[in-house]
Point group: C2
Chain length 335, copies 2
Amino acid sequence: MKLLITGGAGFVGARLARTLLARGTLAGKTLTQIVLADQFAPPADLMADARVQARTGALLAQAPSLADEGFDGVFHLASAVSGECEADFELGLRSNLDTTRALLDGFRLSGKAPRFVFSSSVAVFGPDPAVPMPSVVTDTTLPAPQTSYGAQKLICEHLVADYTRKGYIDGRAARLMTVTVRPGKPNGAASSFFSGIIREPLAGVESLCPVSAEVSHPVASPARTVDGLIAVYEASREAFNGRTAMNLPALNVKVGEMLAALEHVAGSAVRARVRFERDERIAGIVANWPTGATAARATALGLKPDTSFADIVRQYIADCEKLPNAAQTLAGLAR
Amino acid sequence: MKLLITGGAGFVGARLARTLLARGTLAGKTLTQIVLADQFAPPADLMADARVQARTGALLAQAPSLADEGFDGVFHLASAVSGECEADFELGLRSNLDTTRALLDGFRLSGKAPRFVFSSSVAVFGPDPAVPMPSVVTDTTLPAPQTSYGAQKLICEHLVADYTRKGYIDGRAARLMTVTVRPGKPNGAASSFFSGIIREPLAGVESLCPVSAEVSHPVASPARTVDGLIAVYEASREAFNGRTAMNLPALNVKVGEMLAALEHVAGSAVRARVRFERDERIAGIVANWPTGATAARATALGLKPDTSFADIVRQYIADCEKLPNAAQTLAGLAR
């Protein structure tokens, strides 16, 4: 089978590709080709696999040719992130809304109705005066996005549902929780600090936490996130249960608990590299996010949240240790 | 003040324009100009008013020039209807989604942030296996559209909310109930029969009812619908209460009760012109609509539903009697 991963050079996309290449199959079919479409070139280890091809460039421009190319399945992960979309409204419209629409229309016109997993986000939820948000959101909580990113994700959920109803794709929208710990550098996401406060101190670098230790948030490790995307892809239509978007499982955790887990796993010297310095812009965005999430439909698919934040920290350390730059990314660990 | 009504030559748009011209003011300001943008030319009585101008043509193409022209307020009513959108997917995308987006972007780029009332629809609601629909929907029911029309209306609700959050417009989305009795000919809406079963027998013409007498539905008269749109426009942001869409008030009524009201007002000979003949396509669409609606937020604005369906029938007859073609539209009434 031939698979497309948009955002395939990004962190989640590349990890998904690695996981799938290692498995060799998806939904019972042998993976013969994975196309990674991204504005950046994919990591070298992926390109070294004969089954991998890159389509590097702006996705909006590529959408028609990708649709013509024909795929059995699609993971549509490419997205501008929340902070970027707040700073640049047109970027968000173009990268998140127009690009998704162009892909959907491309596949509609192709007549091939691929299976299509859309990565939505817990950012669709927010409080509105008329719609008080429960502190823990469920699959059936009414979304009231408070960011353009969240609004665009929600809009795309409904596009995916309607194109699916019409038979143009076999679409499934899964709401990703905040993925942590992300490697690399901070990105433009308002949630970037949920990784930074773990990643930076492990690398021996100071990190500023822009919100209070009492802030609670639904998170998931990269591994569990990828497991969730694959399970949503592999679910039968009946098991997916409807066309509305599904929450992926979350570990609901406070910032203070994240730091306690960091100290438990890596020691007090590492923990001490995190300093609280409130950032009103970030804190304002985060204040409109849910403090936790449940995922009844994902649970029915057999998916589970991470068992503890300490396990998430350990997963990050183990991932770093496999890579050539481990000495750098874990420079803060007494070893 | 200068006002734009899209779909201003349509039934609701023209009635709104007449009501506003008779009032002379909107939100405390004198109406100096009403521009009616529509693919069709407005009715002659409207064009006879010196305050009225027409912009006749496809709205999508007109959007940039309309935005440049500059308006203090906008009622965006133009829309392809539900049956059309099911039959022609691209028409729905273009007329409902792309056109709304073009208007919003036009006003965003103009920097003038007009007040903007968007006419959404009770068709945003529907049952999904994962989201059972309550039989009576409220302001906070989770929408799960089961038609492209409903999906496009819901998507535009969220665009309006986000452009409002960003300050590009002062937007308010109001969900219209099924408007009955509409004059004229059946249109492509799946709900068209909710008018046809009253209008046709009053004109002395037989009418087929495509669903059972037990089907219940939230309806509103043209007058109450226009009152609702005006109240939503005139509400302060605080009184509108949030940015999510608001249900307009509904009279929740069964088809059998509608026909009993017709008989009560117009006699058994008129009622006898309605024959039940099930249309599976229409019945299938209607089966996914709510059987009733509540409107707590609209009630807080002072809006009320019609008091009875008999009153709605009387309103239609009184409206017809004012027009030159009364003899034809009411040919079925013994007078």
